[in-house]
Symmetry: C2
Subunit: 333 residues, 2 copies
């Protein structure tokens, strides 16, 4: 499998991005990586690996800034993100990974219309920890003006992802709402509830779920629109930081001799939680593998994202999404 | 000030509800409390205080169940929640407090149309802890199909609340969105941004804020619709539980002699965080004081809610909301 890696995307690019590519290539021998970006900088970052046949370099002269609007892809014509999408659209690569501008990455999918057959809109899925183990939440920001059929498809795509990538045999699906009873919420969620209940997914559809269900892991797949999902994800990170800081202050001031042990333990908790978010999130619905990484990704996060992209291909996630969506009666979604 | 207390609302009613009323009456001598619910149960719960002139009992025969739909107020005509609203609508009381069904409490406001002059829709405000101290988030569930002018008014009402109740002199206002740049998000937030920027609140309006800003306390007042706000609030509680559990597991297994000290410290952290949520949340925009408490409220939470209701009246929150809304040009909101 050949994957394009946006070598210029991310707060610390290209150093740790390229280092992550070298690590992933060592780990997975069938992985071929196309590094996209400034040839000189990439060559310097590759060092001794610069001549390796595992790495191809595709030179670009521009970079999408982290604060630029997604539409910049239309005016800047030689960016690393734009080139990654072009390589996938022309089937030169089967996947792409970037820690760059999330909006531009999503826009690339919309501009190239590189969707799996039947998909209306792609959605970003994240795997987050819960009291019952990892759960899938989508969409977390690709689509902030969702229609009911988009949300329905997120449920279908998310459950394929949960099965193929998390090994959950019959993933249950929940619709994020402000109460569990039917009729709760706004028009969008009421219409979406009807779609699920009329579909072949009805047996695995748990109905409405609430915010507190997410970290309790009440279902395996949590469906919401990109506006709510993005805010939920970022609020969660904020609570984590606050609570760990409060816990650290509280615990460390209460202890005497074993302070250092507690400090190390709290660091591990924060690390483990953050770790789960740093392997990158797939943009589901794209015909090809597209993994979007956190801007602050280090070499290990990029390595994990590349390996996850390869597994996504190996595990036939997209093929199974296509057949899942075929089963949706056209009169319903 | 006379306040109606829904003695039948809450998971453990009426015992701790009535106990909270007794504590609040001891604390604030000018507080008169009308206990609404089953006379026999309330009298039994009052015990020695049953004869006190501080407590009036208004008998009702029905209770709104925690899972009943808000519209139940139209069919059950003698519920404690319905009676509380009737007492306020007929000016027998100046405030009401309930730990019962939140939807029914909100519906009571809509049915009686007991709004402050100029208010389009009331919104529930919660005070939550942040790294910079307490911040106000609204709406968290009264209004899940918001218009831009509702969100604008939440900013105006929330900033009066932050000033009068939290003592923040010039509260800054942020609009919850999925990115800080103008143009981000959906139609609703883009339209709301325009309203704020064209209003007299523009100098204190910080613009768009993201999920992570909430617990960082980037602004003093966070404005969002009741759908997003409710999910954000409940997700936060879920993260707190998960992180404290992970922290407890991690820290306690790392320690040897000082385990018990760490355990007590972690319990204090959880208690302090939850505590902030248990004083009740005002339904802002109601002409009168309406405080909605968590269903699991204990006596201390009810006591705090009653005292907060009295402060709300003493601090002229509603009068100042009315004059704040008067300053909004009608062409804008």
């Amino acid at each position: 499998m050949r994957i394009a890696l946006d070598a210029m995307g991310g707060d610390f690019a290209p150093g740790p991005i390229v280092a992550g590519a070298v690590q992933a290539a060592q780990e997975n021998e069938s992985l071929q990586i196309t590094l996209v970006g400034d040839r000189d900088q990439i060559t310097a970052a590759l060092g001794a690996d610069a001549g390796s046949p595992r790495f191809e370099i595709v030179h670009t002269t521009q970079v999408v800034g982290m604060d630029e609007k997604p539409t910049v892809l239309r005016t800047k014509r030689d960016t690393s993100i734009g080139k990654c999408w072009e390589l996938m659209a022309t089937r030169k690569v089967q996947g792409l990974v970037s820690a760059g501008n999330t909006g531009a990455m999503t826009a690339g999918a919309l501009f190239t219309k590189l969707f799996i057959k039947g998909v209306k809109r792609p959605g970003i899925a994240v795997v987050i920890p819960s009291l019952q183990g990892p759960v899938v939440l989508l969409d977390v920001g690709a689509n902030s003006s969702c229609k009911a059929e988009h949300l329905f498809q997120y449920g279908a795509m998310g459950s394929v992802y949960a099965r193929q990538m998390l090994g959950i045999e019959n993933p249950t699906i929940g619709l994020m709402n402000i109460g569990t009873e039917e009729g709760k919420g706004n028009d969008l969620v009421r219409e979406t509830l009807d779609l699920f209940q009329a579909s072949h997914l009805r047996d695995r559809f748990h109905g409405n779920v609430e915010g507190r269900d997410l970290y309790q892991g009440t279902v395996n797949v949590f469906v919401t629109d990109g506006f709510v999902g993005n805010i939920v994800l970022k609020v969660s990170e904020g609570v984590l930081d606050l609570v760990l800081k409060l816990a650290a202050n509280g615990v460390l001031s209460a202890l005497d001799k074993e302070k250092h042990l507690a400090e190390a333990a709290l660091r591990r908790v924060a690390h483990e939680y953050h770790h789960s978010a740093t392997g990158g999130a797939p943009l589901l619905g794209v015909d090809g593998v597209c993994i979007i990484c956190h801007g602050s990704s280090n070499d290990r996060a990029i390595r994990n994202a590349l390996l996850r992209a390869a597994r996504h291909g190996d595990n036939k996630v997209n093929e199974l999404i296509a057949s899942e969506l075929e089963r949706t009666p056209t009169s319903v979604a």
